[in-house]
Amino acid sequence: MSPVLLAEAVLFTLVVAALLAERPASLAATGLAGAATAAALGFLPGLRAALTRAFAAHRVPALIGGAVGALLLPFFLRGSPYWTFVATMALMYVTIGQGLNLQIGTAGVVNLAGAAFAGLGGYTVGLLTTAAGWPSWLALLVGPWAALALGALLFVPILKTRGHYLALVTIAFVFIFNTLMNNLEFTGGPQGIKNIPTLRILGHAFTTPPAIFGVRLPAHANFYFLALLMAGLATWIARRLHDSWLGLALNTLRDDEIAARCCGISVTRGKLVAFSVGNFLIGLGGSFYAVMVGFVSPPDFDFGYSLVMLSVIIIGGVDSVAGVVLGACLLVPLPERFRFLHEYRLLLYGVVIVLTLLYRPQGLWPVAVRRYR
């Protein structure tokens, strides 16, 4: 059990150091330490195997350790509201990524409209709170259902087309969504919806900095803990679905529809269920974004964000639930970490993704074969 906790402590230290390093020297040291760790895992198969065994043998302590680390992170980041915010965004992308991974990775339903479904959630929250006067927490709970319901618009294309053609249909959907949001009056046009009230749960407004155990955290820590809960639930649901008979059925129909039909799997139902559950999680991420940032506008949900969501699940490892977590936690903070490169960072982001695809096409944390006991 101790190797598990040691490994998690090392990882935690690396994450905190990577986020907080400011001076070039400390940044370089962190980078070297990270590279050394990765190299040790890459070049010492014995170490890797030992760690894998240890984690497999002590799953519960490992999970508890991970949860404690995630809960402690804002305390270490308390000097920097900015990095707390970035960590929250990463957790939001974990939620979205789990939804998208269920669609693309598990069921093979290519969905490049992730940005639009997140936008549907976000805009629903915006309209319900500002125009209808609903409390934010209720809107946050309803937003994902709107994404799920409007996803029904794509039910027919999803069943009729696949592969490149389905990719095109969903791209067209993002463009339609964006044009509508930009030009309709009740969504605020290009300005979007401003002044979405913040969350207020049991009298605690999420804009007031919380004090936990006498430690004062930045206001964004409120959202961090909520996002952690959300991402944890989404990952748990995704894990359970992936390991269930449904996940197996979805994998089958992804790999060969005809064979799946012959085995008595309903391709129609499988695809629609995966698509709807996925849209729910994506819409949840978008609704959370609206509540956290306090306003939504068309550029927040343009096609570029679909690309980010897609890269999260592919770089993490297609169909891999753990890979989504890794992908989101790497890819979302990465461009922020390299903000000192100014305008070059998006260019490098693209280069990094292309290189990863060329040299590690299976993703950073590829999906393991299911083991049934």
Binding site: L112, P157, V169, A172, T179, E257, L347, P361
Partner: protein
């Protein structure tokens, strides 16, 4: 119902847009033919074509070649050559190595490559973030026929586009190189056994497709008299849509799809209230409907895969 002159005028505008879309769409369809991939950075290759043309024109102006016809011809040649070669580089680096893995990989890789191209223009082109005015080199003026204003420059754009399409058609259907491209599209392995140089043919296809996109880029600059580094995003999606509604792999289908997309855009702008704002909604809705009702496109073949 708007007056018939307005509709005819919009149809004329749709034709102008349509030929430019068609040139981009032909590239998509050719690439799909030889490698069975969608090269998503093709839209940004189209944008590069416009910027290469602008750079060439500026350079020619600087060394004193100012005669519009000569300058334009040289700009076209230079842009086709440079952008065609860049298209081959993109294929070698990013498309071909991933062509055998899942379509998802090429999708993400080429989308990311498009991001890289866009950002590179934004950063490295002088004042790349601003829209660039494109010099007006085509003859001004025009005439009226049946209530439709026809400008000489529109006719010139149309003529250039038609020449480009006809030459590609001849190249593909009448030459040995074209026969090789068709053979690879049909069956790469059988083509190789017949002595077709597979890599060379794929390179050639990407050169031709990217060259056509370069022509479309310059034409778009001449038509709108301004170019912007972001133009490749919508250009690429529209080109892909056109190729898909025409039937992927079919060159005539791509041309037809491009014209159709342009027509739908401009006519919906005329027919629907506030249509100019919502024309893309209509156009993309038509694309979605098309793919649902006729998933293999207008001229696409019925294939056994779609059980």
């Amino acid at each position: 119902m708007p007056p018939i002159e307005l509709l005819l005028q919009q149809a004329m505008n749709g034709l102008m847009l349509g030929v430019m879309y068609a040139l981009v769409a032909v590239g998509f369809t050719l690439f799909f033919g030889v490698l069975d991939v969608i090269h998503f950075s093709h839209g940004d290759i189209f944008m590069l074509g416009a910027f290469a043309g602008l750079t060439a024109l500026a350079g020619l102006g600087a060394i004193g070649i100012g005669a519009p016809a000569v300058a334009l011809a040289l700009a076209f040649a230079g842009s086709i050559l440079v952008v065609g070669l860049l298209g081959v580089v993109a294929e070698r680096v990013c498309v071909k190595p991933l062509a055998r893995s899942s379509p998802l990989m090429t999708l993400l890789a080429t989308l990311s490559l498009g991001l890289v191209i866009r950002e590179a223009v934004l950063i490295f082109y002088p004042r790349g973030a601003d829209p660039k005015p494109f010099p007006q080199l085509l003859p001004a003026g025009g005439f009226e026929a049946g209530g439709v204003a026809i400008r000489y420059e529109n006719l010139a754009i149309l003529a250039i586009a038609i020449v480009a399409m006809v030459s590609v058609d001849l190249l593909i259907n009448r030459t040995r190189m074209g026969a090789a491209i068709r053979a690879v599209a049909q069956d790469p392995e059988a083509a190789q056994m017949m002595g077709v140089n597979l890599n060379g043919t794929v390179d050639l296809t990407f050169f031709i497709g990217s060259g056509l996109a370069a022509i479309a880029g310059i034409l778009s600059g001449l038509y709108y008299s301004e170019i912007h580094f972001i133009m490749g995003v919508s250009g690429g999606v529209i080109g892909f849509s056109a190729a898909a509604i025409g039937g992927l792999g079919n060159v005539y289908g791509a041309i037809l799809g491009g014209l159709l997309f342009g027509m739908v855009q401009t006519l919906s702008a005329a027919l629907i209230p506030r249509g100019s704002e919502f024309r893309d909604v209509v156009a993309f809705a038509v694309v979605m409907l098309f793919l649902v009702v006729r998933p293999s496109g207008i001229l696409g073949e019925k294939s056994a895969e779609r059980v």
